[in-house]
Subunit: 201 residues, 2 copies
Amino acid sequence: MSKQPASESGVRRGRPGYDQGQVLEIAVQVFIEQGYDATSVATLATRLGLSKSALYHHFESKEALLEVALDEALSGLEGALADAGEGSARDRLEHVLRGAVLVLVDRLAYVTLLLRVRGNSDVERAALERRRAFDREVTALVRAAQSEGSVRSDIAPPVATRLLFGMVNSIVEWYRPSGEEGAQELARDVLRVVFDGLGTR
Amino acid sequence: MSKQPASESGVRRGRPGYDQGQVLEIAVQVFIEQGYDATSVATLATRLGLSKSALYHHFESKEALLEVALDEALSGLEGALADAGEGSARDRLEHVLRGAVLVLVDRLAYVTLLLRVRGNSDVERAALERRRAFDREVTALVRAAQSEGSVRSDIAPPVATRLLFGMVNSIVEWYRPSGEEGAQELARDVLRVVFDGLGTR
């Protein structure tokens, strides 16, 4: 589906004058509160103070909203992998983990939604497959870092990847943008635990 | 509520002849699949092949089932804290983390249910409060370990606790008892990552 910023779409209807990004943001909030499956288009329209036809002007279906939201989360994670550069596997792994924390904090609601997807539709299954492909690439990075000797080799790469992303993903459960810990500090703490451990040397 | 093993209760009704533990196990499976709020007593009875009155013989209400299930998870975690001994804070912290992984693997369904609780009833709120009390004690252990110099002090104890238990709790998402990694191996891997980190020294 097309994803046009409202400033370029030219047309706005309904009141208040939401652009597409704002509609998405509020819809995702409702999905998180009530569950995607349990949320009707009528509920979304009521929450937005829009008519259903005004809502359909922005998005052709509830599933289209979900698709765009999941793409926000996935493209962020994939971006962290894509711009990890050409350094050592360890450097690239650090880059991906830092990037994942920053994406998670920046797109908290979208990542929260992604983590709740269970594969109940084609859109959800496609998102899970992209997520699995991402995990496979991270696992390959862990394996490469073990080969270059920069990551301990007494933990199986798939287990290491799951533990690392278990830690990273859990941040959606408690992180609040207003908290004491900024995104950069949080990413730094995650990298400290992951690579150096909590123990003093 | 009373929790009587069927072997002592003397009375069994309905078919097949479930004991209370088996009723609990199957009910928790249904709660996980369908969501606790969305599961009716009629659904539970059908799944068990019992009449509703036979089910009520085992548990006085749906909420009583939830309460016992959450207690299974929480008492396991609290037990890991209670028998952590009198060693250094670092030793006790390691004991609690290892214990938490073992409880999670051993009581996977109950911990899964606990992690989904959102505080929608008195039973859920009481469980969340016990969980928060557990987290506070772990945070105090992290702080004590920092004071004794065995845990790095450049990460705030509440953040460290959340990251550690984020990693541990995420195990419910992927661990399957039939997998290659046994509970002891998994606990060992978690302790390695948490205290020594993935990086080679």
